[in-house]
């Protein structure tokens, strides 16, 4: 059962980076403004808990990431499929930032096991723009992404 997921944005200052954790739905109710105060130090944004982004949210998000100085290192980690989809569909979704790691929806054709697997973008780039082999945790057979791999990994090629 999907429950209504409130938007949260939490900023924690770590040793040499400002860490931002975002969860929920990015829409007209999402308060993204605290991110615009960042930029003095490198920023790492964890997006694992983002469930969905609507069209207003896309615009608001792009507006916010554009305000982060281009000189500030900006990294996105643990991006779930809804975020990866936006990166692939909408120009400038990550601003000048780099997508470091992401989840891909994997499925086993043999035993129908399904899971979201975390991958490093660099590992995909090193693997010729493809996902590294992922054995099924249940039967050991190779899993495949439940999406068009070429389309899902468009951001890897664009960033390359």
């Amino acid at each position: 059962m999907t429950v209504r997921t409130p938007f949260t944005l939490e900023i924690t200052a770590q040793a040499d980076v400002d860490h931002v954790t975002i969860t929920g739905i990015i829409d007209e109710n999402a308060e993204l403004a605290p991110m615009t105060a960042l930029g003095a130090r490198p920023i790492e944004v964890s997006m694992r808990g983002v469930r969905r982004i609507n069209s207003f949210g896309v615009r608001a998000w792009i507006d916010v990431v554009r305000r982060i100085p281009a000189s500030t290192p900006l990294a996105f980690v643990q991006c779930p499929p809804p975020v990866v989809d936006q990166c692939n569909m909408v120009a400038g979704f990550l601003g000048h930032g780099r997508l470091i790691s992401f989840f891909a929806p994997m499925v086993c054709a043999e035993c129908d096991e399904q899971l979201d697997q975390l991958f490093l973008t660099a590992a995909c780039r090193d693997n010729g723009g493809k996902l590294p082999a992922t054995p099924c945790p249940r039967c050991g057979r190779p899993m495949e992404v439940d999406d068009l791999e070429e389309q899902y990994l468009l951001f890897v090629r664009e960033a390359g």
């Binding site: 209504r4 069209s55 499929p81 992404v145």
Partner: protein, 323 residues
């Protein structure tokens, strides 16, 4: 429909068999052409109420067809045209931008063609009976209806749609597609559809953060239903202001990844429409100009996400002729 004549063309004999049975079942007289020469000759013979033609090679690349498509509206003003194609719908949208009489594209995927879609499309065009989500679902399916009145209640509306999809056993990504479609349709009904007495957009320029409560005369409706194969989400507004030009131009602009995707010219509706389009299998827009619009989105539940992404999407705009 009795007394009507339909010309169907597809070089694939399986598609012709499906179409012949399906369209003949409507009571119309059906002629199935098997090659370009035959269909061009039949077109030139005239007298067709509806042409349903494959827009794949060989016809697409045939200069005789290109020439006829260029003068279609003048030469066959009473004939409706429906194209079907294996190409991604995005490839054919530019054609719809320059050929306003072309409003119906049926996606042809692995299976020859869906007889239901042929029948529904033909009957809607020939009977001029356009509206109703029920046409796309099995008999007996009862849609859930929600009144769309207040932007502050959007999360409540969305929760109902999501609960419905969850109750059907849809997986997380399908529920996300359903919510994406419903979210954009609700926003459209509240902010983009309403018109002033002069026909000008009433709330389109307002920030989506600014609450809007629609008056009784402006209230829209959200409907959703499932027949096992498709989950359908529809939005109805009492304005009928949506035009083919708007829909096609917004989609064409957003399909190309770049700065135009977020253009202010659309008042925010462009990227929303694009997100809806990317989240569905069949897109149907019924418009009675100045009176009502019905946007129907159908998501094929039988497909894995991979197959869903691979499949072309059907795209229909039906416009009620003035009485």
């Amino acid at each position: 429909m009795r007394g009507k004549r339909i010309l169907f063309f597809d070089p694939d004999p399986r598609a012709r068999r499906v179409a012949e049975r399906a369209l003949a079942a409507t009571g119309s007289e059906v002629r199935c052409a098997a090659d370009s020469d035959e269909v061009i000759t039949a077109m030139d013979g005239g007298g067709w109420d509806l042409m349903m033609l494959s827009y794949d090679p060989p016809l697409r690349d045939d200069p005789r067809w290109t020439e006829r498509l260029g003068v279609f509206e003048e030469r066959w003003p009473r004939t409706k045209l429906v194209l079907h194609s294996t190409a991604p719908t995005e490839d054919n949208l530019p054609l719809m931008a320059t050929r306003p009489f072309l409003r119906n594209l049926i996606a042809k995927n692995d299976e020859p063609l869906e007889p239901d879609e042929l029948i529904i499309t033909a009957e809607k065009l020939l009977r001029h009976d356009l509206f109703g989500l029920g046409k796309y679902l099995l008999w007996g399916v009862e849609p859930v209806r929600i009144e769309i009145r207040d932007s502050r209640k959007k999360l409540d509306y969305l929760a109902e749609v999501a609960a419905y999809a969850n109750a059907l056993g849809c997986n997380e990504r399908v529920v996300e597609l359903v919510e994406t479609v419903a979210d954009e349709l609700i926003t459209n009904a509240i902010y983009n559809a309403p018109r002033t007495a002069d026909g000008e957009p009433k709330y389109a320029r307002r920030s989506r953060r600014e609450p809007v409560e629609l008056t009784d005369a402006e209230v829209g409706q959200l409907e959703f239903a499932c027949d096992g194969d498709y989950i359908a989400i529809a939005q109805i507004d009492p304005f009928g202001a949506l035009t083919q030009d708007t829909v096609v131009s917004y989609l064409n602009r957003c399909l190309v990844k770049g700065p135009e995707q977020l253009s202010e010219a659309s008042g925010g509706a462009g990227i929303g429409l694009y997100r809806v389009f990317q989240s569905l299998s069949k897109f149907v827009i019924n418009v009675e100009p100045g009176h009502r619009t019905e946007v129907i989105c159908l998501i094929d539940l039988r497909l894995t996400m991979k197959r869903f992404r691979q499949q072309a999407k059907s795209f229909h705009i039906f416009i009620q002729d003035a009485a």
